[in-house]
């Protein structure tokens, strides 16, 4: 059974890459939106752009993964093809994990291009291991968040609208453009409940070659968020097929 599930996950990810990665909602929300934000910040103040880079990379991870989830899940919910996957000898959690990994992989590709492009353009040298340690759990956490929200609606546009609420809340409260430490105390407490805060903080450590211990702690917290979103997503999807 485990072999069936692993095979199912692999081919679901592979099929989603071929089928959905070039869909307009994935391109516009997952690639164009973060790239436009980055360009806007760069053009406004090229000198201090380096300070904003961790936040903007974090935002890229958030948007690319969640946008991809909306596409890989909601296109199939709308057309009924998600059921097709469930007719195969693959368990429902395995199908959802396949969908989450599909979104995370799309996010990884976008984030790699954005991070590498920005680092080369600015001449900065982030710590690669730290980057990997923080980016991978972030991709998983935000892909799971996307899956959790997307399984509760049917249409892609509904999913993108629903996703914008946590996206924009996190952009403003998680230190993407404005440091958490400079925010009012009450908002700082709110920020600690948001996974993007830990991504931004971990990326700051990676770009400044900071503490490995801090990076590991942020990574563990992000893995915790991954699980927090994953299990309710299983529950919601299962409810759809009761």
């Amino acid at each position: 059974m485990r072999r069936d599930n692993l095979r199912g996950i692999f081919y679901i990810v592979w099929k989603d890459m071929r089928t959905y990665y070039l869909k307009p909602p994935a391109i516009s929300w997952g690639i164009a939106f973060p790239v436009v934000w980055i360009l806007a910040f760069y053009l406004r103040n090229p000198k201090s752009f380096g300070e904003l880079l961790p936040g903007l990379v974090a935002m890229t991870i958030l948007f690319s993964t969640t946008a991809a989830e909306a596409v890989v899940i909601n296109f199939e919910l709308r057309l009924g093809s998600l059921e097709r996957l469930l007719l195969a000898p693959v368990s429902l959690p395995a199908v959802l994990v396949g969908k989450i990994l599909g979104g995370a992989l799309f996010g990884l590709m976008t984030t790699t291009v954005v991070t590498a492009g920005s680092a080369i353009a600015l001449g900065v040298h982030p710590h690669i291991l730290y980057l990997i340690l923080i980016v991978i759990p972030s991709l998983l956490a935000f892909a799971a968040l996307g899956a959790f929200l997307c399984v509760s609606v049917k249409e892609v546009f509904e999913a993108q609208t629903l996703l914008n609420l946590p996206r924009f809340l996190m952009i403003f409260l998680s230190g993407v453009v404005y440091p958490v430490s400079a925010m009012p105390k009450a908002l700082q407490y709110v920020a600690y409940f948001m996974p993007l805060t830990y991504t931004v903080e971990g990326l700051r450590q990676a770009f400044s070659e900071g503490s490995i211990y801090l990076v590991l702690i942020e990574a563990l917290i992000l893995l915790f968020f991954f699980l927090v979103f994953l299990f309710p997503a299983f529950g919601l999807l299962r409810k759809k097929f009761e």
């Binding site: 059974m1 069936d4 095979r7 199912g8 081919y11 679901i12 099929k15 071929r18 089928t19 959905y20 057309l79 009924g80 093809s81 059921e83 097709r84 996957l85 469930l86 007719l87 195969a88 000898p89 693959v90 368990s91 097929f241 009761e242």
Partner: protein
């Protein structure tokens, strides 16, 4: 329970919230037969397929597929069944070939056999020439054929078909019915749902008539027709707009069933032919309605359906038109 049975269902009940969709249904399907679920919209046909294939949970009751329990062994069951949903839901962005290849990968068809199996199915369904065409560019009939082919990539022992010919034109539906017949010749057990009476009659070895979540009757098409044969059926043709005539005749002959077949034809079930003919002639004279023709009818599955359910076949026809329009 015998191992000769492909499907064994006992007391299957399904609630959606407060709504009772299936009410303690029980039936068995023999290996190698074509078994049909016949009923109007909302009868519970699709719900039964969903419950038996793991797409929804049973509220209560027992269901065994190839002697495996649907509740606890569904992943093992899925290796041996193919399911064709009512909507042809393959991937628009993939070609005919890639769609079948993906299903073969998902079902674990050995790598060395995948391409040959996919090509054989494309040939069998007459789609080999279109193997590189994207799914979205295929005609409705081709999409349906490809969806059935996709359910066969792993050589299933049982094929579930939900309304296989809904929305297809006459020619495509005819060719698909022949294909389904051929699948049975290959030893595949087929469980299909339909609201097309003639389809059930042509294809099925046995039929279960389903209404409001309950099985009313199970039997061969011939045995069901024989039930209708017990009472005579006479068909009268009047000019268009016969609802007034049906109403009038129902009042005149309250002990008989007066059922409209379409806008001009009426069937009367029961009574002796001489009594029915005399009464209708009287009615025709009293009301000044011209009778165009009269026939004594050899019962069809449609007549059996009417007798068993008390429904007019127009209910099924209206549903058929709705589905055709929706699919178009």
């Amino acid at each position: 329970m015998s191992n000769q049975r492909a499907i064994q269902v006992s007391g299957l009940t399904k609630y959606y919230g407060e709504t009772l969709a299936l009410d303690h249904i029980s039936f068995e399907v023999e290996r190698g037969e074509i078994f049909g679920f016949l009923g109007p919209n909302g009868a519970g046909k699709t719900t039964t397929i969903r419950a038996l294939t793991g797409l929804s949970r049973l509220t209560s009751g027992e269901a065994l597929i190839l002697s495996l329990d649907v509740r606890s062994e569904i992943l093992e069951i899925k290796k041996h069944i193919g399911v064709v949903p009512e909507i042809s839901n393959l991937y628009d962005e993939l070609s005919a070939f890639d769609n079948l290849l993906f299903m073969a990968q998902l079902f674990g068809v050995p790598r060395s056999q995948r391409r040959a199996r996919v090509e054989a199915l494309l040939k069998m369904f007459g789609l080999f020439e279109r193997k590189n065409s994207l799914f979205r560019t295929l005609s409705r009939g081709m999409k349906r054929s490809l969806t059935i082919a996709s359910a066969l990539v792993h050589n299933p022992q049982i094929l579930f078909l939900d309304e296989p010919t809904a929305g297809l034109d006459v020619l495509a539906a005819h060719s698909l019915r022949n294909l389904i017949h051929n699948l049975r010749e290959q030893g595949i057990t087929i469980f299909l749902t339909t609201h097309y009476l003639e389809e059930a009659d042509f294809l099925c070895d046995r039929v279960a008539i389903l209404l409001k979540g309950k099985i009313l009757k199970v039997g061969t098409p011939d045995s069901l027709k024989a039930m209708a044969e017990e009472e005579p059926v006479m068909e009268f043709t009047f000019p268009r707009g016969n609802s007034r005539i049906v109403k009038g005749l129902s009042l005149k002959l309250p002990e008989l069933k007066v059922i409209p077949v379409d806008d001009t034809r009426i069937r009367i079930y029961g009574g002796t032919p001489s009594y029915v003919l005399k009464s209708v002639l009287e009615f025709s004279k009293e009301k000044g309605v011209e009778m165009l023709s009269v026939n004594s009818i050899k019962p069809s599955l449609e007549d059996a359906f009417i007798k068993i359910t008390g429904l007019s076949p127009t209910v099924m026809r209206v549903e058929k038109e709705k589905r055709t329009n929706a699919a178009g």
